[in-house]
């Protein structure tokens, strides 16, 4: 139970930070709307539902990337990992708290993006919504881990897309095809791996 308490305290802290700074979520919402607008003009007239759906997935991945890039900014700028990793909580709780916060931002952005997509292009069925929800889990678990790696490097914001996009390719394939079982498998495999690996990413000892 202390684990759940730690995760809740850390996630609450991240949501509070965003509530104060109001940087990440508004950028993600504006970005996804702008991207959908661009895609409207990028698609040829009469392009089908499937073409638009493919672009929706691209928009979601890049929107998530925007949020993930910002995920550890507060920790990096104030050197907070030094304080957090000495605490007796399991280090993976830091990852899980952050993952939950990023997941919340992404879902908020999608609550705007999916109706906008339905209005701009074509309708959205339940299967797509389920696929998006499952994909969000995979994006946030893996993306948060890679986000913690990227902020440690010199290249920082530049590095995260390079690290993350190759791993996101299966998510796009599963999402566009609507293979829910595949997305669930992805979440389970990479979720467990990210959970186990986070400690090594933030702590040397």
């Amino acid at each position: 139970m202390t684990y759940v308490g730690d995760v809740a305290a850390l996630a609450r802290k991240d949501l509070l930070l965003e509530l104060r700074a109001k940087e990440t979520l508004p950028s993600m919402v504006l970005f996804v709307l702008a991207a959908l607008t661009i895609f409207h003009f990028a698609l040829p007239r009469g392009a089908g539902h499937h073409a638009a759906l493919g672009l929706l997935w691209a928009a979601l991945i890049f929107t998530a990337l925007l949020g993930l890039t910002r995920a550890f900014v507060a920790e990096r700028e104030q050197g907070m990992f030094d304080a957090l990793i000495l605490a007796p909580c399991d280090r993976s709780a830091i990852w899980l708290g952050k993952t939950i916060a990023v997941f919340a931002f992404l879902v908020c952005a999608e609550i705007v993006a999916l109706p906008a997509f339905a209005a701009f292009f074509s309708g959205i069925d339940g299967r797509t919504i389920a696929a998006v929800a499952l994909a969000d889990v995979g994006i946030c678990t893996v993306g948060t881990l890679f986000g913690a790696m990227a902020v440690a490097g010199r290249a920082r914001e530049l590095l995260l897309p390079l690290l993350f996009l190759p791993v996101a390719i299966p998510i796009v394939i599963g999402g566009v095809g609507g293979y829910l079982w595949f997305l669930a498998l992805y979440d389970a495999l990479f979720g467990v791996l990210a959970w186990a690996a986070f400690e090594y990413v933030v702590a040397e000892v």
Partner: protein, 229 residues
């Protein structure tokens, strides 16, 4: 004593790689019969597939060493993992090139999204290039070793996951040479394939030890230089 042992091993592996590669070349050009469907050009198969398998072996070996970095805190494993993945990317690039040539010869196009193996190698190539970006972006030390190791482990999970995803994404048009009933090759084809695979694997082993010896020499030199100052 140790140095001569290392040198001998590198020389032995190098010699083996040269002999096997020459043998594989000879078998591929003079021995193996032409493929019924694809003619002479199908012979690139005997390079393409062993190179691809060697590349997997490199990534697998790199991930095994990465596991040792995290699990046993083995300091030497970090550079070993890096060298294996470096070789894997070289063989991966060769896989992309030979695959592309094969696609050109068989289907008249340089790139075929329908060929799962090729698409998978593109994903892996992108992934492992990011591995180098990650490594070069970090200061050397425990932290870099840990992060590189974590990323390398993601790689070996990504291989089957991506393969599955790519299979889902398209109809499976890659010529199936191996299946559940064993290799669908004649004896002479199978022999050539095995010799070529052995050649590529020994080439990897030789290159791996050469690069590793270079890295170790570097760090010995640095230690000596520090002792002098």
């Amino acid at each position: 004593m140790r140095r001569t042992f290392v040198e001998n091993r590198v020389a032995a592996l190098g010699g083996l790689a040269v002999v096997l590669t020459a043998a594989a070349l000879a078998l591929i050009i003079f021995y193996v019969p032409n493929d019924a469907d694809q003619g002479f050009s199908q012979r690139i198969f005997y390079f393409h597939v062993p190179i691809a398998l060697t590349s997997y072996a490199c990534f697998g070996w790199g991930a095994w060493k990465a596991l040792r970095v995290l699990w046993k805190r083995d300091e030497h494993a970090d550079v070993e993992s890096y060298v294996a993945i470096h070789q894997g990317v070289v063989f991966g690039a060769l896989t992309l090139i030979t695959g592309s040539i094969w696609a050109r010869a068989s289907w008249g196009v340089w790139w075929s999204w329908g060929e799962n193996q090729l698409v998978l190698f593109l994903v892996l190539f992108l992934f492992y290039c990011a591995y180098f970006m990650l490594r070069f972006s970090l200061e050397p030390g425990r932290s870099r070793a840990n992060m590189s190791a974590v990323y390398a482990l993601f790689g070996v999970v990504l291989i089957p996951v991506s393969f599955l995803a790519i299979r889902l994404s398209q109809k499976f048009i890659h010529p199936v040479v191996f299946n559940a009933h064993g290799p669908q090759m004649s004896g002479s084809q199978f022999l050539t394939f095995c010799v070529s695979l052995a050649a590529m694997l020994s080439l990897f082993a030789a290159l791996y030890h050469v690069e590793l010896a270079g890295k170790r020499l570097d760090s010995h030199l640095r230690e000596l230089r520090e002792l002098l100052t």
